[in-house]
Symmetry: C2
Subunit: 455 residues, 2 copies
């Protein structure tokens, strides 16, 4: 069998850095979303780009699937080896290789996590802004084009990856992009790899843009009488050009989840969680302008977090949305939708989503990076109950159709993986031909993350 | 002959919107750089995406080259039909289709120019920030991944194209991207098309990000005793995080050119031309912080332009760099280099470039979007004098090698076209395999802009 032959060759190469124990396989076949377990046949732990190249060459020779594994936090099953094969765990390629402070960039290995990088950068007065909440690996974040709470100010992985080293399907190691801030030299392979979900190559090194830690940071929460009032505040804030660092919507049900999860006593009303970055006077000015818009929309209960530890506590709660949603229906799994719409349609989209949840009797929370027009409904259901599965799938289908009808997208940041393959035709139509052509040109034998993204 | 057959079919389709007159062909075979004239066999003027599709299908059937033509302002010969065939002039597809003010985006046709768009947007309180100087077409700017003076604040075309409609080599019309601010659904075809210089498809519609016109804008010039002092000011300004809207370096020779061209009396010293955007207090704060850094580096002769007409005059001079360089050696042509380096190497790179010009006795000016690490040496030479040609080519080779040795790029914004094909291997190495694979997959018969970009 081809996979068995690959494993034999990989054992000779990697020795005890190839694991076939049930515990290691199970540890790489789980997911935080609602997908069943898919076990890899073996787990490889490479330590260098050259070794990744050797692993890929072995897999190519035997037609063995190979799926990169970072922190396992993807939400559409991107890291699940649905056809078995090799899970390529990047944990031993997790170094910060070079901080180039004066150039505001850093070179990291793909297994380095977001939090590790930011701890490393703190003494340099710098930070990497993209923050999906989970302590994801930077390779995984690039592969899924992740973003999160700060994208409204600093962009997504799309805007923050300057250059990559990638191992291609034939084992060649290529470099894309440069350390310069811009370039106009040929096809943009960096952006092609960012968001390709491990289907075109294995990212082995990343050069990332950094930001200086702002002179002043201030965060706050406030609440509103209605979803519409909160969302209108967001729309007006973005349209007025206030450079928000974060502006997050949290609905009543999500607040209830936070209260249960973190033992808080927030009023069960729609909230905004916000943050300002800038100079001292700049932050004061932003806060004043935002405050005026919010108060015009009936905002109440402003709670400010000026100190670093208070802000950390605030965002720790917000980032626990996935776990906090779980408190509302213990024992079930979560399907997290991820639509993103042009901001003029945001209020309609959020209201419709809430209506759909309530009329269909779904237990769901809504949180969102609403400054970008992106929000998630986390719907709890039992994957073993066919009627519940059918209901949440129908909800997901309808919400994606809504996003497309508004000129938006079925995924703002979670990606396609397994869960959204069925929407790719509706999203891209004719352009799927080009995506398939690229896949075929780059990975003709289909060894990289088969069964993902492309229908 | 295949081109002749294509022309026959195109005449039947387009009637008098296919021109084969010498004047029309010559008008589409010129360039502002140093390349010889290359005539298309015919010039087509499509009026719709469907018609572009029909034109492409005819060209495919007959294996006839097709080269998109916007405003003809590209500086590496991207629009020159080196193998003849059809110049596809987009002038009749120049409409602003839809301004979506609340969503801060706009839909335009590819022949719409930057200035036309900004005039159209003024009443909406919005502007499109990418400003390469020339009144280029937006389709051409996307195709060459253009940027310019404001990229330091607002990014290049890479960051400002949200979505595209593109006619592919088989005539299919695809859509890439969405009107949402971010998306994570499949391969990033938008970024693949941006910068592809008409070699993968014909852009027929663009959705572009817009910015609100800032409350306050202030511009200034100042001069320095040395290149190094000016460039160090830039480096410190960028590293300190001041959100400069423009920060342009102009060397002594360029100032001489401006003085001759615009009849000015600027001191012939290295200058910075700068602009601040923001709230009234924000601009004041930025100007104060920049002023302190500049004065620490010996800046003198601050001249402020607060009024809109004064700023327009200031930037009109800066944007006339190409013509002003011409004043220094009338009757010759210009080779404009375009390297971009990580900002920590900027001072070394500019100084080395100046030294190379003076020791080699080249008449050259230097201007640069130095906030991005990008600068141009405009070298005057006589294309008919082999020794002058050899000298400027050697200079260009050496400067590109310098950029690569600093981890930078051979082109920050002008692109590859004809002039920089020879450096593509040094820039990309193994990754050229993937670029060629994409070209072959998208345009197997090689009808789109043959002879450009890929060696």
């Amino acid at each position: 069998m081809s996979i068995a032959c690959a494993i034999k060759d990989l054992e000779a190469l990697l020795k005890d850095r190839l694991q076939i124990s049930p515990s290691s396989r199970v540890g790489h076949g789980q997911n935080e979303a609602y997908f069943p377990q898919y076990l890899p046949d073996a787990v490889a732990f490479p330590t260098s780009s050259a070794e990744v190249s050797q692993v890929v060459q072995i897999c190519l020779r035997h037609g063995c699937p190979i799926v990169a594994y970072g922190a396992g936090t993807s939400l559409e099953g991107q890291h699940l080896p649905v056809l078995g094969g090799i899970a390529l765990d990047m944990v031993q390629m997790g170094q910060v290789l070079e901080v180039r402070g004066p150039d505001l960039n850093v070179v990291v290995q793909p297994g380095c996590t977001r939090e590790t990088l930011n701890q490393h950068l703190r003494d340099h007065g710098l930070f990497f802004p993209v923050d999906p909440g989970a302590n994801a690996s930077l390779g995984g974040m690039a592969a899924t084009r992740a973003s999160g709470t700060t994208a409204v100010r600093y962009g997504t992985m799309r805007e923050n990856v300057l250059a990559l080293e990638v191992v291609m399907a034939d084992g060649r190691i290529i470099r894309t992009g440069t350390a310069a801030r811009k370039s106009s030299t040929g096809y943009d392979l960096t952006h092609l790899m960012v968001g390709s979900e491990g289907t075109l190559g294995i990212i082995t090194e990343l050069t990332l843009r950094l930001q200086g830690i702002p002179e002043a940071i201030s965060a706050a929460t406030c609440n509103f009488e209605s979803v519409d009032a909160a969302v209108q505040t967001v729309i007006l804030t973005i349209q007025s050009g206030i450079p928000m660092a974060r502006i997050e919507f949290v609905d009543e049900m999500m607040v209830r989840g936070f209260n249960l999860y973190a033992n808080l006593k927030l009023p069960e009303k729609p909230h905004l969680f916000i943050e300002f970055h800038g100079s001292l006077s700049g932050v004061a000015e932003q806060a004043k302008e935002f405050g005026e818009i919010a108060k015009d929309n009936g905002a109440q209960g402003f709670s400010w977090a000026e100190r670093s530890e208070d802000r950390a506590a605030l965002w720790k709660v917000r980032h626990a949305a996935h776990q906090a949603s779980g408190m509302l229906a213990p024992g079930k799994r979560t399907l997290a939708t991820d639509i993103c719409v042009p901001i003029s349609h945001l209020a309609k989209a959020v209201t419709r989503a809430q209506d759909m949840c309530s009329t269909r009797d779904l237990v769901a929370t809504i949180v969102g990076h609403v400054g970008d027009g992106n929000f998630h409904c986390a719907v709890r259901f039992d994957p073993g109950a066919p009627d519940e599965v059918a209901k949440v799938q129908q909800f997901s289908d309808d919400l994606c159709a809504l996003a497309l009808s508004f000129g938006g997208t079925i995924s703002g940041e979670h990606g396609i993986g397994l869960g959204k393959v069925k929407y790719m035709h509706a999203q891209h139509g004719q352009a799927l031909t080009e995506m398939n052509a690229i896949k075929k040109a780059f990975d003709p034998k289909g060894i990289f993350n088969p069964g993902k993204m492309l229908p």
